[in-house]
Symmetry: C2
Subunit: 303 residues, 2 copies
């Protein structure tokens, strides 16, 4: 079976949605542990205003100190954030919109079309002058919005098409509030393949949350359809502050366990990964909660 | 989509594997809450020797006091246990073997063939004289044994065949240590369908544990193959004392959420179910841990 790509989003999506502020040195040790465990792509931070997301207010300090090895990316909400990122020579960015108008309005006070217009400027500036760079577009609330309910897959396709039109290198499709079932993933996955053809597969990443326990079942459904790229968060850190009741991201530990058990080599050491969040979890005052993390820590302590 | 059957095993498999002894009145309130939430089949206890499983030593006191409504069954390890069950007019029993010789040896100090010989006597006695009754056979460690590693699906088929030969009404296939992946479920599920034909489907129940977080993904894979019966444990109570490192059973809350979200009506109220284990969890000194239980309790407390 062909390789699978894992994009670790714990340092950004995870920490952004934990209320505690994590000291910079703890974050750097966290990222180093993730890299040492074998993760190759890490969304490290966000150049959003510290006023809105104080948890990631140290992005400019963090970025130059990131340990060598993985490919790092950063969320960039607008042109102002992009300028901060460009000052630090960030070469991989992510922009963030949604498949729900109500969510986008509540989240960034824009229509979806307005976010696309803004990203057009962001990406044009990012790519000028010509140099190596890479952009991801997030489509959040791709299955259900906390404000307007179920999302029609056609709406997701429209937003994907707009992002492809902007020339993004990949699209991350998010079950932001962690409510989807595998049947819905199959419906949306098949619609995406029907609309864009199988050549879209390398450009699609699935971003599942695990609020209702369906995250790994959803990943398994997407894997069955042939998709090969997934976002996850070490220790299941995170959630979504704009989505009432939302719990954590799908835990990277659970993803690694399932893939390795399925015979798909990830290059990630599960036992090392399971220890990578220990210090951060202590800072936020929580115990490990991801199943494979608990099982791995138990195995390690037994011998 | 056709209906799905859920067999709640929390009061037996769950409590058997919690170290705390739960008072009888708490157990009865637990079972009543499960029945009130809408569960229709409950494995309520085990007529195993109290010396071996003190947690279920009150089986004879519990059984006559079970609230009316659900169909109840009890685990019966041998002829002695069966006599205790028959004294109480138990009409649904379960017998317990495994697909691993090492596990069976460690668990009950018999070979698999010896357990089958014993069940032959148990089931003959249970069905004599002719009266309404029902028997389940458990095949545990159907994917992997903690002592001898991966289990060949052919071995599972052999044990299934032996149990069918005994005339059991259903077979519960268990991932006792909670390690399987959906790909393995598909392999074993397809082997079962190939060996026994689609008419076996109403006789097969899948019993998943969630040690490594794969329980719901495994259920989803079995559902896709057409299987329609699943064991689960409210609140994810349980584990396996004979399987080093094993965590909890697949949580009934997560199963209900996935099925209802998939459009399969279960008749179970998730919010009521999520509260059903509160008193038991307090007795064992744990917080709710099942994802859908946490999300449901959060939703209830918000609105």
């Amino acid at each position: 079976m062909s390789g699978v790509r894992i994009v670790e989003v714990g340092p950004r999506d995870g920490l952004q949605n934990e209320s505690a502020l994590i000291p910079l040195d703890v974050k750097l040790r966290f990222v180093r542990s993730l890299a040492d465990a074998g993760l190759k792509e890490i969304e490290a931070t966000s150049f959003v205003s510290p006023k809105w997301v104080p948890q990631l207010g140290d992005a400019a300090e963090l970025w130059p100190k990131l340990p060598e090895g993985p490919l790092y990316s950063a969320l960039v909400p607008n042109l102002k954030g992009l300028e901060r990122a460009l000052d630090l020579d960030v070469q991989r960015i992510a922009v963030f919109t949604a498949a729900s108008e109500s969510f986008t309005k509540a989240n960034v006070n824009m229509t979806i079309a307005e976010t696309i217009d803004q990203f057009r400027l962001v990406i044009a500036r990012f790519r000028h002058p010509c140099r190596p760079n890479w952009a991801r577009g997030y489509v959040s609330t791709a299955f259900e919005c906390p404000y307007e309910g179920r999302i029609n897959p056609k709406k997701v396709l429209e937003v994907c098409e707009a992002l492809i039109g902007l020339g993004v290198d990949e699209i991350s499709i998010g079950d932001t509030i962690g409510v989807a079932s595998p049947a819905e993933v199959r419906v949306l996955g098949r619609e995406i393949l029907a609309a864009f053809g199988n050549q879209i597969i390398p450009k699609i990443t699935w971003h599942f949350h695990d609020t209702w326990g369906t995250g790994l079942a959803n990943l398994s459904a997407a894997l069955d359809l042939g998709f090969r790229s997934f976002d996850s968060s070490a220790g299941g850190l995170g959630g979504c502050p704009y989505a009432p009741g939302a719990g954590g991201n799908l835990a990277t530990e659970d993803v690694i366990y399932l893939l390795e058990r399925t015979g798909i080599s990830t290059g990630v050491d599960l036992d090392s990964l399971s220890r990578a969040t220990e210090e951060v979890l202590a800072c936020v005052g929580r115990s490990p909660a991801a199943k494979s993390q608990i099982a791995s820590l138990g195995r390690s302590s037994v011998g």
